[in-house]
Structure formats: C-alpha cells, structure tokens
Symmetry: C2
Subunit: 191 residues, 2 copies
C-alpha cells in the first residue's frame, strides 16, 4: 500500500485535489483574484501549503485549475433558443454583473498570466460564445454579419457596466433586454 | 510684475498648465495608467516636479485633469445619424480597441480612484452614451427598451475583445458591424 492510497482504496491525492479546488473556488468568489491567497486555500481545505505548491507552483496555476474545474456557469441547449439565451444571460450576469472588483482583478490577471487567460477562454468564454451564437442564430433564422457583435455584447455590456461604471446589474432585467433585442432582430428578418 | 506673469503679460501658470496636460496626455496614451509617472510628465513638459505636485497632489488628480482636458474623442451630431454612429464607433474603437493593457489599467484606476472615475464618466462615457443613443434612436425611429443595451455594447464589446481577450480590434470593421446591427433593428420597425 502506498501512502497515496486510503484504507478504502480510494487515492487520497484525488480527494485532496477536489477539496483544494472546492476551497479555492469559494475563496476566488468571495474576494476575487487580488484577494486570493494560497494560505487561505490550504487552511480551508485542511491541506498543507507544501502539498498545494507541489501541485500548483504559483497562484495563477491554482486559479486556472479552479476555473477549469468550477466554471460556475452552465450553458444548456434545449429546443427553446429564447429560454436558452435568457438562461445563459442570467448565468453570466449573476456571475460577473455585480462584481466590479472581481472583473477588474480578473482582467489584469488575464493580461498578466497566460495560464489564467487560457482557463477563462476555454472554460467560460468559448462555451458561452458558442451557446449564445447558436441560440441567436436559431431565433433570427440564420447567420448575419452582426451576430458576433450581439454575442460579445452579452459579456461586454456586463463588463462595461459592472467593471467600468461600478453599477450593480440586475440579472433578470439584463437578460430581458438581451431577449428583447434579439426578438427585434428576429422580427426584421421574419416579416 | 509678479513672477507668474511673462514679459508679454500672459500668465505663465496657464502656459505651464497647458504644457503639462499636453505632455501628460501623450504619456498616458503611450503607456497607459500603470506606466504613467509624474517625473516623466515633468521632464517632457520642462516643468519642475514641485510645480506639478503643487497643482495636482497625486497621480490620479493629474490623470483626471488630463482626461477632462484631452478626452481624445470627438462625438459629433449631424443630420446623418448613420454617419454619426459610424464615426463615434470608429473614435471609440481607435481609442480603446487595440490597447488591452491600457483598458485593464484604467478599469483598475477607475475602481480605486473616484477622481479618475468621475473624469472618465463625465468626459468620455457620458458624452458618448448620449451621442450613441441619439443616433440610434434617429435610425430606428423611436425609443425602445433594448436601446440601452445597444448603446453600451459599443464600449462593452471593445472592452471585452481588447481588455479580456487581448484581441486587436479593427476600428472600421467594428464600426461596420455596429451600423449593420442598427440598420437591421431599424428594418424591424420600419417595415
């Protein structure tokens, strides 16, 4: 029996990884990137700081792994594209729409640490862009040159209002606006 | 004759203020907020560091004054709302669309220094929001619930692509997308 195997045969390192990423996710969402400290993660996960550093050599590595494991946003595709769009807009607005500090810290982290950028792009942005495009194309009945702008307006308006203006965004009202906009665009092509 | 009056009777302090704000504007646009240093401004303006600090006690104060004096964006309103919208989108995209670092630094500065936030909001955001809303309302023939989203999508998409994704935004292509989008919205209400 190796030291990595528990009495019930389940590898302890996997348990620890999950516990650490779960604690890291909580801490990341409580204080954002700037207030994320490896020691707090170790304390909350009941893990040794050395264990954490052995697996993730620096803070950006652990943050990136946390984002990939817990993107905290689920984008579903059903046969109702309007409901999908609305649900996705609410998910994104809930995640970033009321957290100006959070966004500001993340924008800086994304610029400074390629590993964080890659995690954000693959775990959050890539997925949401695909879902939004698909829903909008189905609602307006085709692919149009302006769809890319509408897709990126969903995270963009949230970043602008929350990160730049410091406004608190109401997720439901925001999603309603997005749906109304796309419905108006659908009307222009279905009349 | 006081020391503040030049031989030709023009107050020297006004000359100095202009020279300092001009130098500050250049430096701000070369390196963004994070690389903006009072000493560099003093050197370029040929002014004493003490003179600068007497007038603007800290870096955020000088940056705010610079933004108010040199917003670097002109939003015009003519009788052609499509041209106004296109010109405004190009101005904004040229200013912020290819400067991810610049945006990231500014978002942080806006969050941390109310004086910078106030300058950005009054000198840039307030003016551009008003112009975009006016052009779009004229193009679509009225006020609709989704107009606020379209207005904020112009800076928002730029911030998202440049600040978060690190993409280089082509100002002309970006403005074309915005115009096409608003034209599609206009079609939905004018048919």
């Amino acid at each position: 029996m190796t030291p990595d195997t528990s009495a019930r045969g389940r590898p302890r390192s996997a348990d620890r990884t999950e516990a650490i990423l779960l604690a890291a996710n909580e801490i990341l969402h409580e204080g954002g990137y700037d207030n994320f400290h490896m020691q707090d993660v170790a304390d909350r996960a009941g893990a040794g700081l050395a264990t954490i550093y052995r697996r993730w050599p620096a803070k950006p590595d652990l943050v990136a792994a946390t984002i990939c494991r817990h993107p905290n946003m689920e984008f579903v595709q059903t046969d109702d594209p309007t409901a999908d769009l609305r649900q996705g807009a609410i998910a994104l607005a809930t995640e970033i729409g009321s957290k100006g500090e959070y966004i500001a810290g993340f924008i800086t982290a994304v610029r400074e640490h390629p590993v964080v950028a890659e995690a954000v792009r693959s775990a959050i942005i890539g997925q949401s862009r695909m879902m939004f495009r698909d829903s909008i194309e189905r609602m307006v009945g085709g692919d149009f040159l302006w769809i890319g702008h509408v897709v990126d307006s969903i995270p963009g308006v949230l970043m602008f209002r929350s990160g730049m203006l410091g406004e608190e965004v109401d997720a439901e009202a925001f999603a309603d606006d997005v749906v109304l906009l796309v419905k108006a665009l659908a009307a222009s092509h279905n009349t």
